[in-house]
């Protein structure tokens, strides 16, 4: 059943290329994987195309010989490849969200692991990654912040009156190895944003407190999920 096999290969290749060109692949893997996905997608389409042409012209030698091997004609387990294809063509699964934050062990940062130059007051707040914020806050109890306002982007993972947790995943290769970085935003007024809502928070470091590093917010802006959802 090589014609069906060729069709499946072409479908897989087409879906991979679509993910690459729409940048949707960044929901699942590291951005650096893009060029490899492109190569793989093209190779799969070529392979499927050649197989399909061979099958339709009936030059496939094993069929001409009329052998009946157990594996040669059946696509068998290869049908399963249609499952992710169907899922991705119809509804691409979202980026990882708040659900996994409480279940995974979060990034453990050792104090003194990184040494940061102190921040200097500028006109605009300093934009930084959540990981850097946490590393800075653990180093000499956040001495390097100097009260300079910072700007952080992440999604909401759980909230109480007056505070919520801001999280973002770190990935090394793909979403299967994602580890969340979590911190607490305090001093919010009104109803906090709902879980999984992406926000950009501006505020200053607030020393002390519980297990999580804290930030006293001066502004919270709800934003759509960024193209590169992982740090």
């Amino acid at each position: 059943m090589t014609a069906a096999g060729g069709t499946i290969s072409m479908l897989v290749g087409a879906v991979v290329l679509r993910l690459t060109f729409t940048d949707t692949y960044r929901r699942y893997v590291q951005p650096a994987m893009g060029k490899w996905l492109l190569i793989a997608g093209v190779a799969l389409i070529l392979l499927g195309l050649v197989t399909l042409i061979n099958a339709l012209r009936n030059v496939e030698p094993e069929e001409a010989h009329g052998h009946d091997h157990e594996h040669s004609h059946s696509v068998g387990v290869g049908w399963l490849l249609l499952a992710p294809i169907a899922a991705l063509l119809l509804v691409a699964p979202p980026t990882l969200g708040a659900y996994g934050v409480n279940r995974a062990g979060s990034v453990k940062v050792r104090p003194g692991k990184a040494f940061f130059k102190p921040l200097h007051q500028k006109a605009a707040p300093v934009q930084m990654k959540l990981l850097e914020y946490i590393e800075r806050s653990l180093e000499h109890n956040g001495a390097s912040f100097h009260g300079v306002p910072v700007k952080l982007t992440g999604f909401v993972a759980g909230s109480e009156a007056g505070s919520f947790r801001l999280a973002r995943y770190q990935i090394a290769c793909c979403a299967a190895d994602a580890t969340p970085v979590v911190m607490e935003v305090v001093g919010t007024s009104g109803t906090p944003p709902s879980d999984d809502q992406w926000v950009t928070v501006t505020g200053t470091f607030r020393p002390g407190g519980g297990e999580l590093p804290r930030l006293a917010a001066t502004s919270i802006v709800e934003i759509p999920a960024p193209e590169d959802p992982y740090e």
Partner: protein
């Protein structure tokens, strides 16, 4: 007459196959609202994202593995491999373990290659050793390990030594006690005939669908385990020395992450000892749920039921020994 009948039945089966592809796509399109509703549940969305992520991540490596496998089938004359390798397993197994360093990829690609090597007449023990060592000790993985552990430069050396040790041990055990009939499917694997180009395309297509299908089974299993088993439970065993080594080995089995990424995860598990994290990195490329599915499909489930536990024990033992010696 008979040939015509065979050809007719083949053609009708082929048409049926295309009909099924079309049907699946139409059905999926009809069920789209249902899928969307399912994805609104956080647990389902989490599962789907991890499932798709593992599949997408593995695709380039699978294509590389399938290409090499097809090239072996098309361009390596049968009988060349047995001549190339030493007859004595005590010599060929360590050679195969070292040869793993030459294949830059992760574990998904090495299964079709090892199975192709066996059909081409390589001794099973040597091919299986290569299967274990290639994803563990190739330069990309070792560099990733060195980058992930900047404060522990011995870590990548320990990973190299422990992985070579485990792969060689399993290969030698297989050479002594292994039964080749367990490799059933790989040995009887159909060899495509025709010109070199046709053999290449036929083999690549076959291996892609075969390995790809079992990869889907493995990705679904890993996504399910990651969704069901919270990683937080590990913190409870972090303190216990022996238990923590086995626990992180077990975590590597259920997480099924790419061998090129596992060093970064290991680095983030700072509540565990270096030896336990070494076990995570030695076990991961050799045994995980995705690999077990691939091996069961490529060789046989009876093979996987023996090979996976053997490899797990060897990997944990090698990591413990090397960790005690080097770290």
């Amino acid at each position: 007459m008979e040939t015509a009948a065979v050809e007719k039945s083949l053609r009708s089966r082929r048409d049926l196959g295309i009909a099924v592809v079309v049907l699946v796509i139409l059905l999926a399109a009809a069920l789209r609202p249902l899928l969307q509703e399912l994805l609104d549940r956080p647990a389902v969305a989490h599962w789907a994202t991890i499932f798709v992520a593992i599949t997408i991540q593995a695709t380039p490596f699978l294509v590389l593995g399938v290409t090499i496998s097809a090239a072996i089938a098309a361009f390596v004359p049968s009988g060349a491999l047995p001549k190339l390798l030493p007859k004595n397993p005590a010599a060929s197994v360590p050679v195969a373990a070292m040869a793993g360093a030459a294949l830059p990829g992760c574990e998904c690609g090495s299964v079709p290659i090892a199975s192709r090597l066996i059909t081409r007449g390589a001794p099973a023990a040597a091919a299986l050793t290569f299967l274990l060592s290639a994803p563990a000790i190739n330069p990309v993985v070792l560099v990733a390990t060195a980058v992930a552990f900047p404060n522990d430069p011995k870590m990548w050396v320990a990973r190299l030594v422990a992985s070579l040790l485990a792969a060689t041990a399993v290969g030698l055990v297989w050479a002594r006690f292994g039964r080749d009939e367990l490799l059933g499917r790989a040995r009887s694997l159909h060899v495509h005939e025709g010109t070199k180009g046709q053999v290449f395309v036929g083999t690549a297509q076959h291996d892609l669908l075969h390995a790809g299908g079992f990869l889907i089974v493995g990705a679904a299993t890993a996504a399910t385990l990651q969704t069901v088993v919270p990683r937080g439970v590990l913190d409870t065993v972090a303190g216990a020395d022996v238990l923590s080594v086995v626990a992180l080995g077990g975590l590597a089995v259920i997480m099924a992450i790419c061998s090129e990424a596992d060093a970064f995860i290991a680095a983030s598990l700072t509540q565990f000892s270096l030896t336990a994290r070494l076990a995570f990195m030695v076990v991961g490329p050799m045994v995980d749920v995705k690999l077990i599915a691939l091996q069961a499909g490529t060789f046989s489930s009876r093979f996987a039921a023996r090979f996976a536990p053997l490899t797990f024990v060897a990997a944990v033992a090698a990591a413990t020994l090397v960790g005690w010696w080097l770290l």
